[in-house]
Amino acid sequence: MRIAVVGKGGTGKSVISGTLARVLARRGHKVLAMDVDTMPGLAFSLGLANQTGGILPEEMAEKQEKKGWKLKKGTRINTLVSKYSQVAADGVRYLQLGKLPDKLKPGSTMAFWYVLQRFKRNGWDMFADLAAGTRQPFSGWANSAEMLLLVIEPSAKSVLSVRRLAKLAQWPKRKRKKIPPEPPQVMLVANKLRSQDDLVLIQQGTKDLDLPIVAEIPFDSELAVGEQLGKALLDHRPNAAAVRTIEKLANFLVEKTSNGLVQNKGESK
């Protein structure tokens, strides 16, 4: 599966993507969690303190015939993933592609992403935690996902943001690359719900968008404590109702996306 998580800042994109990644990894999935935010925060949810990132440009080759980058001849994608990712909690592989060290040019890292898109069947479940706002997600990253999770919390600002993001996701004249051929499925993930009224607010505010709400994650004040400590939800509150809901969401994703298979039968090429 290739999932991109978008939403207004602070709605819980990183916590949700990080927790989903770990839940699937615990079930034996090969999971690659990518932080594509220029302000990376996913590492915390994966139990990592270090957030170094980027793919060195010399790993990629500039195309001769046209603009852009490609994978150097003889380089295997799995090799690069192993080399540049960090092993995070539960064996999740973490790649930081958002904020790059000064010496790295974004071109090669962006190109790596495009290369990654082609490895649809190499057995990885991929999660991309995208930048807040609307500018960056749709200038490339969100479009290669097979499913787009729009995280929404019960606030007027978040509802307005999701309405904009949903519109962008449906934009008909997108210059889509051939891969993947299908536009992403767009789903809503409601987070920080304190009451039924909160859910109603979200339902009312998004009614005409006609997007399914695939998870209703309850508000948990303990989550804020975990955030203060920089601890992952799964480590700080493994039995929280929010975790149960995200586990159910993981089931749903396995059901609704391709490659939702446990990959233990050796490396595929």
Binding site: K8, G10, G133, T134, L160, S161, K167, K175
Partner: protein, 103 residues
């Protein structure tokens, strides 16, 4: 004074900017509030309604639609494309992404 407000998503940039702008306006300052976020929500914190906030069209877009040859002055731009917000604040959205591939 010219103040820029930055920070992590959800930490309160918009609420801080909107409230500070209004408090200064109430003290008699002439305040211009610019929303420079590609996902502009400042209107809500400054006291505009959801519908009004959603209606704000970005300056960039308006200027693109207008004849570039006759690009007006900064003041004129605000007069023409800005919105009057509570407490006399002049508010405008700088750039909003409505299309997948904006020029």
């Amino acid at each position: 004074m010219k103040i820029a407000v930055v920070g992590k998503g959800g930490s309160g940039k918009t609420t801080t900017s909107g409230t500070t702008a209004r408090l200064l306006a109430r003290k008699g300052k002439r305040v211009i509030a610019l929303d420079c976020d590609s996902n502009p929500n400042l209107g809500l914190s400054i006291g505009l309604s959801v519908a009004e906030t959603d209606r704000l069209v970005s300056l960039r877009q308006r200027l693109d639609e207008e004849d570039a040859e006759h690009a007006p002055s900064a003041h004129e731009i605000l007069e023409r494309f800005g919105t009057l917000a509570p407490d006399g604040i002049q508010m405008a959205v700088v750039s909003r992404i409505d299309q997948y591939d904006p020029g």
